[in-house]
Symmetry: C3
Subunit: 476 residues, 3 copies
Amino acid sequence: MPEAGPHPDRLFPSDPLQRRLARELYGHVRDLPLICPHGHVDPALMAHNKPFGNPAELLVVPDHYVLRMLYSRGVALEDLGVPSRDGAPVEGDPRAIWRRLAEHWHLFRGTPSRLWLEQELHEVFGVTTRLSAATADEVYDQLEDCLGRDAFLPRALFDRFNIEFLATTESPLDSLEHHRAIRDSDWAGNVVTTFRPDDVVDMERHDWASAVGRLGEVTGCDTATYGGYLDALRSRRAFFASNGATATDHGHPTAATLDLDGADAARLFEAGLRGRADAAAAERFRAHMLTEFARMSCEDGLVMQLHPGSLRDHNPRVLARFGPDMGADIPMPTDYVRALRPLLNRFGNEPRLTLVVFTLDESAYARELAPLAGHYPAMVLGPAWWFHDSPEGMRRFRELTTETAGFYNTVGFNDDTRAFPSIAARHDVARRVDCAFLARLVAEHRLPLEEAAETAVDLAYRLPKRTYRIGDGTVA
Amino acid sequence: MPEAGPHPDRLFPSDPLQRRLARELYGHVRDLPLICPHGHVDPALMAHNKPFGNPAELLVVPDHYVLRMLYSRGVALEDLGVPSRDGAPVEGDPRAIWRRLAEHWHLFRGTPSRLWLEQELHEVFGVTTRLSAATADEVYDQLEDCLGRDAFLPRALFDRFNIEFLATTESPLDSLEHHRAIRDSDWAGNVVTTFRPDDVVDMERHDWASAVGRLGEVTGCDTATYGGYLDALRSRRAFFASNGATATDHGHPTAATLDLDGADAARLFEAGLRGRADAAAAERFRAHMLTEFARMSCEDGLVMQLHPGSLRDHNPRVLARFGPDMGADIPMPTDYVRALRPLLNRFGNEPRLTLVVFTLDESAYARELAPLAGHYPAMVLGPAWWFHDSPEGMRRFRELTTETAGFYNTVGFNDDTRAFPSIAARHDVARRVDCAFLARLVAEHRLPLEEAAETAVDLAYRLPKRTYRIGDGTVA
Amino acid sequence: MPEAGPHPDRLFPSDPLQRRLARELYGHVRDLPLICPHGHVDPALMAHNKPFGNPAELLVVPDHYVLRMLYSRGVALEDLGVPSRDGAPVEGDPRAIWRRLAEHWHLFRGTPSRLWLEQELHEVFGVTTRLSAATADEVYDQLEDCLGRDAFLPRALFDRFNIEFLATTESPLDSLEHHRAIRDSDWAGNVVTTFRPDDVVDMERHDWASAVGRLGEVTGCDTATYGGYLDALRSRRAFFASNGATATDHGHPTAATLDLDGADAARLFEAGLRGRADAAAAERFRAHMLTEFARMSCEDGLVMQLHPGSLRDHNPRVLARFGPDMGADIPMPTDYVRALRPLLNRFGNEPRLTLVVFTLDESAYARELAPLAGHYPAMVLGPAWWFHDSPEGMRRFRELTTETAGFYNTVGFNDDTRAFPSIAARHDVARRVDCAFLARLVAEHRLPLEEAAETAVDLAYRLPKRTYRIGDGTVA
């Protein structure tokens, strides 16, 4: 183990008994295949299997965690090579971008970005030098050298990471050509899509009506009517499922659901198409559609994921200049108890439905989410998400949900990332943190070691397979 | 200590210094008598002293924590023997029900239900086998054997548990015949009632008006008028107090209080009787009555308890089929700062009033509840409640309230249970968790050991006696 | 180390590895000069350098943390010597007041008040006896003896505490005569003011209009017009800056900001002067003025601090009898995401602005504040505030903010106190807690020791200097 590499005991408690137990538990899960049922990797990566670009393009420019932290301490996004919408010139030298990251590396002390990136540098690229302004060039050179080699092509990394299942996320309008190309190739990697219909559901998107029109073209359904629109959605779900999808995903500003009657829903839909739906109508339509999607899931068996609670693009100046997803999305307090009631009352008792609910509002873990998941057969809890996908965040998730919902109303880890080369590091952090939590339960005589070991394997491998209906996952 | 029994150091920190200190502190409280000032044991149990039923009837069917977890992972309530409202057949074989629990025992890993049940099996029933599908029958047989013996009669367990004081909870309409029977018996157990008037206060209950009518009959007061209604409540409080009650209890959807003038309150009351009170009027009447009850407490000295913040019967299908209290009550965000202000402004400075406030919304601990209890002489904090009556929940309660409210604005433990045989286990868990918290303060040199020991005894024994005005409790 | 003194390892984790690391980190910061950029010390103390009064007047009567706890457990404020507004007699014997504190000392177990006071007694006054009812007089005598000696004069303590920078807080109407007197004296202590304009901004204060009138007199501006009012504020800011101020401070009930056009703001202002502004108008005006002050900060470089979220004077009986600031201020849930948006959209991307945001609502740390500070260049997080200025509160602050905002979007410690002799103890507690947090990161191999040491020094010394633009603070 070279000096600068991540320590083999990282993220384990320092209490000697807990550390010994965590090590033992981690030994059971370290080498298990990765199940990645929710993420945003570009399937073209695996379809084309072309080399990754330069280190800045790989590790800095597309990472909104990294961009937001650097921006918050005064580094201009232009100087990080983020393309501007108006085409104004931005930094074009990837080495200069990399140096800026290295010069500001202290900003990331105590953050998951640092954990992920250090582990990635060491375990994927073999970097043994600690990153700093002084070593920026040396590390850059080593990365650049790697990126030119076959062992660092996307498929090679996929195999090396021991990924058993990788789900990407696509719009119903997507042709899934990359997934088809992967399946038609001689490569055995299991890469499937996820049905994410936000662009054809959210009337507040400026291009919603045209997206609905395209949905009609793609499916041959008459999406000028609400009935045709529902048919079109069912048709695309079937197409996605036939391409391997096992799940849908819904990113909504709130967790609101409604169970309108068909005529009311149709009126909202038609008002939207005529440009007469205000924000409240759009919210009602989104809310109703969640219940419609739950109904469809009961029929076609696709697992339903709900990601609510982010106020997108809080900073209009950044949005105007650089577009969305530049680190300016901010969580809001999110109600689940009243919001989910219409959907749960209708379908929450259905064994056929699996509704995975996420949150950015940790105050809901113990107060609302664990009690709901600990009651309704259909509802389970997604892992600590986004800002909370971090050691402290994952620890809080377990501390705040386990006593009411147990481990088996949770679904294991989602890496939820577009940063493909970081996937192994992200899963490793999650496995370590879960083992640390279980080690504390064992050390405090709250759980026998052998049951903790079984639970660790369930969380890392069997639960995500069972929940997302992947293969024949059996559990506990 | 047989292999499968709970470990003597369970729930203590694994850090050797903290563990040694926790053991020492726990030594001071382990054998103290149990003070149970708030709970829901059926007084008929102690009045009749008949044997408990079979293991399923004792440990599964009436435990909403157990039912909700099993239901959440797909076990039908019918298969757990829960009686259906329409009389449709449900599982009648207690051994089959017990096996279902055992087969799903992994669901309870990391939950307080498991801690309580394991300790109960071992310490009450002497079970030394770990529960699993394989051992279900063996454990069942041992339990069944115990339940037939005199040593497991309710009064024998009461004495064995070393219960010094047990409060049950009754409606003002209750005759308290079981309490009278206990007092008139030759058994010395101290079992008293608690005045819980929700059924004659909450206009949203379908039978509120008839309950108010019965209140008139029971007391001879004219409860068709607001003045007579108040008189009737005072009369029943006096009756309850003469039967040993030292406290009242109020379960409300919110913590709202109001201090209306008499004429306004009378108008609400009369509108309610005429069936003309809407939800807002019912909420205003409940809110006002809390202030009326505080006034009565200032007069008669009954300690007042407020349990707000649960949305009852979130799942209408379960309610329709099985009735209330089947695990579908879900906490909601709860305001205390503005809600309690009318009552506290009126009576919060009165030394005669003790108002014990509980919460299901932990975000209020440090933000609202500890600051309020750390200011108003009348207000103190009830212990971690319901979903938070758990090791992590009780730890958070201390971490989040102590620095602002101290230990002496809290009231010690409430078991709050109807599961009589679990009472000793529940108190033991609470004592262990408080000792673990105090051990950390000692280990970090924040509190001298001898003061921590005194505090441990106060929390376990003297504070509940003092707060609930039981015997001559002196403290610190 | 005398027996009763604070332990040298206090507040460090008891895990041996973490304790050793915490000790080492603390060694780097223990003796650093104190930077006190936000507090409420009376500058007259340093201007006049007269002896402090008696022990009760120094340590009990002015400390709202102490008063509130004693009051909450039944000690009358009259018996603690708090002057009544109507001049009714209160306890006049400081020794009797001191004894009341000592008799109730157990109430403070586990609170920061106890930590601060014990450390103050020991390290400032050399008290080696543990406080109790039995030792109250002995401790009192020793304190009284100290207070008569030159070594305990305010300036002597200032020098002994190694205070490098102390900011007080004054209204724009203040003449700053004490600050001038300090500067004109032969004493070298660096004591500056902070611009706190709440009394000329908040229309809900009964004397707002007259304060605005006096603002006009002081500046020679026509504060009967909105334009003149803004000019007057600019003029006083310049005056404060010329007297050393580097910051402004804003205590608002909410974090609401607005960016009105000038005509709308002028209308609100004039309605206020005519007594026609209701609560909503007052809130809008306060909200708008925050954005105006941000604009002024962009111009004059004063750092802007926002302290929102306290409901002042919750207890009208205490207010009527004893006035404000007697321990009856209670935190409320506080929104930041929508509330700060108008200000941040206008000035959040300005490198010239530093906006330090505080909270009393810890649920906002991870959900709203860390994401906002981790994105906007202008915004940083103030330390754990008021009720949360405590070991557990500071630990939660780091655990909940670091992973999203890092250490370098925080600003180090504020003692925020009027209790001058407690300042050294307060900084020491904060330094210990930060070192304990860093020690855990090191022990869990999440941060190398040498980077943790650099971070500890940054948090204790360099970050507050840099953030508050004191001297030439360089960092990391």
